[in-house]
Amino acid sequence: MSSMTTTAAPASTAPGSFGRMVRSILKSRTATFGFALVILNILLALLAPVLTSYDPIATDAMNALQESSGAHLLGTDALGRDTLTRTLFGGQYALAISFTATALTVLLGSVIAGIAAYRGGIVDDIITRVLDSVLAVPAILSMLVVVTIFGTGPWVIILAVMVVYTGGVTRIVRATVMDVLPKDYITAAKARGEGMFSILAREVFPNVLDIILVEFAMRASWVVLLISSLSFLGFGASPPTPDWGLMVAENRNLMSVVPLATLSPIVALATLIVGLNLAADGLAKSLGVDRMKEVLG
């Protein structure tokens, strides 16, 4: 409902809430560092085409298995592809897939959680039980099944992530929503006769946004790990995709020849995950979220 008709009326969301968040993040050194790492990763990925003139996929027979040099800062792999280029482009892939997958998972999980918590009773029971059953199937098995059904590809990976993690997200967001629901402002809204979706959207979600954000940062780090593991096992990205997990799998036998080909994606992967974890930690601390509750999912 667009109610803000008077010109003097402020925006319907809390004024300065984003600014406040940025400020509270900057206050925490951990969070700042974490966000800096993540932003660095994003920048490097986005700027990959500018930062390097090599094609991440094109092979170059003449320059295979080169060690670090002026032409190839991090050397090349067995197919003569520039390791730096592949690592940078690998960031695009990792970030795009994992952030999309995480965002969709968190979104879906939050909506389900909101409905389950608000409706309560049998609806809640059914949702909780079904999601618990999904959680009871090992993540890798679920992913294997999804990947085997739909073949490989970015969207399949995203779907697989959603299958695996929606239950966990729902569990955590549900618990948080449960904390918010008994608050008096919810009671006031209920007493006004507001509908479920109105209450969830206006009253509940703005207050669990902290948790959802932290959840996002942390899940994203798990998703990056999971996707790279899947690629490592040969179920994720297909060659020649510059996927970090795949790069490790492809190049780990080159450890004694061109160690940078393996180390670069590992360092990139670890940097991103450390960044996401620190960001989640810092975010949690500065937003006053009990981060460890998150792990329970």
């Binding site: 039980r129 079904v130 618990d132 059953s133 999904v134 959680l135 009871a136 199937v137 090992p138 993540a139 890798i140 098995l141 294997l144 099944v145 999804v146 085997t148 059904i149 780090s221 790990l225 790279s228 593991s229 490592f232 096992l233 997990g245 490790v248 799998a249 780990r252 450890m255 590992i266 992967l269 670890a270 995950i273 450390v274 974890n277 620190l278 009990d290 981060r291 460890m292 509750k293 792990v295 329970l296």
Partner: protein, 318 residues
């Protein structure tokens, strides 16, 4: 309280059943089936049809599931569509191997991480905490395939202390596998411990901030007494769930590590069974994994019950 556990167990059974139904339905939509997988390049359409009939793949899914369930309840999980052997024996021996790995991982990993988490929590923001927390962060941030690869390079190739892979097969005895368990266990401990350490640290800090610990300090109690009598039992409570989740995770999470170490466990079997569409094997693996999941959670509930007097002695008969 009996009803509390009866209800929990009831839900657990339901969860396992539902998980099985979900996996069964998902496998139905896998392209190709065991018949064509078995026949491979010898597959002529008629041979596939015959094989399908032999394997009972032509019956409607619901009736197949019901008959599977009926047999499963009598302990008969069917025969592998690939090897023809009893799935029970196959999954059983893989599970025993994985349990050995998981067991060692859990015992060492959980004890180690509880101690480290406790120390980190108690020395909040001082150097032991900072080093332990950093270590845990690294553990969380490095994929297990990297940890495993590094461990192999270091401890079986450069310094040949441990076997690099498991040579013994699926039916090997514990004694045969035991020497090969340590490196995979080490890789798993790194991942497992990271989360438990962090959980333990946070909950120790939470408990330390509580009124009752403050009161205990103001009573002039000694530090060990405060730690072990006042902090530890309460700090363990939220950690239990994380331990349970992680232990349950181990069953599926071992896949990567098993693959690197050629470990003849449930993870390896899982991948192979999905690839060969070996439905009876997949279903049994699902059942066992789901059972592990619910049993871990039940155990966590039970441990919480023992640790938490509020659960043991509910205040009133409400």
């Amino acid at each position: 309280m009996l009803t509390f556990f009866a209800k929990r167990i009831g839900w657990s059974v339901f969860t396992v059943l539902l998980a099985t139904v979900l996996v069964f339905s998902a496998i139905q939509s896998l392209p190709g089936d065991a018949a064509s997988q078995i026949l491979g390049q010898n597959a002529t359409p008629s041979a596939v049809a015959t094989m399908r009939q032999q394997l009972g793949l032509d019956d409607p899914p619901v009736s197949r599931f019901v008959s599977w369930l009926g047999n499963a309840l009598q302990g008969n999980f069917g025969n592998s569509l690939v090897s023809g052997g009893s799935v029970g024996a196959e999954v059983g021996s893989a599970l025993v191997n994985t349990s050995l790995l998981a067991g060692i991982t859990i015992v060492i990993g959980v004890l180690l991480s509880l101690v480290l988490g406790l120390v980190a929590g108690l020395t909040r923001d001082r150097w032991p905490d900072i080093s332990i927390s950093t270590l845990a962060l690294v553990g969380m941030s490095v994929p297990e395939f990297v940890v495993a690869t590094v461990l192999v390079l270091l401890f079986s190739i450069y310094i040949p202390l441990f076997p690099a892979v498991v040579i013994a097969g699926q039916n090997a005895s514990v004694a045969e596998i035991l020497p090969s368990v340590w490196l995979p266990a080490g890789a798993l401990i790194c991942v497992l411990a990271a989360y438990i350490i962090r959980m333990m640290r946070t909950s120790v800090i939470d408990v330390m901030d509580s009124e009752f610990v403050r009161t205990a300090i103001l009573k002039g109690n000694s530090t060990p007494r405060i730690v072990f009598k006042h902090i530890l039992p309460s700090a363990m409570l939220p950690t239990l769930n994380v331990i349970a989740m992680n232990v349950a995770w181990l069953i599926g999470g071992v896949v990567v590590v098993e693959s690197i170490f050629n470990y003849p466990g449930i993870g390896t079997l899982m991948i192979r069974s999905v690839q060969t569409r070996d439905l009876p094997a997949i279903l049994l693996i699902t059942v066992m994994s789901a059972l592990t999941y619910v049993v871990c959670n039940l155990l966590a509930d039970f441990a919480a019950f023992l640790l938490n007097p509020r659960l043991r002695y509910p205040r009133s008969a409400k």
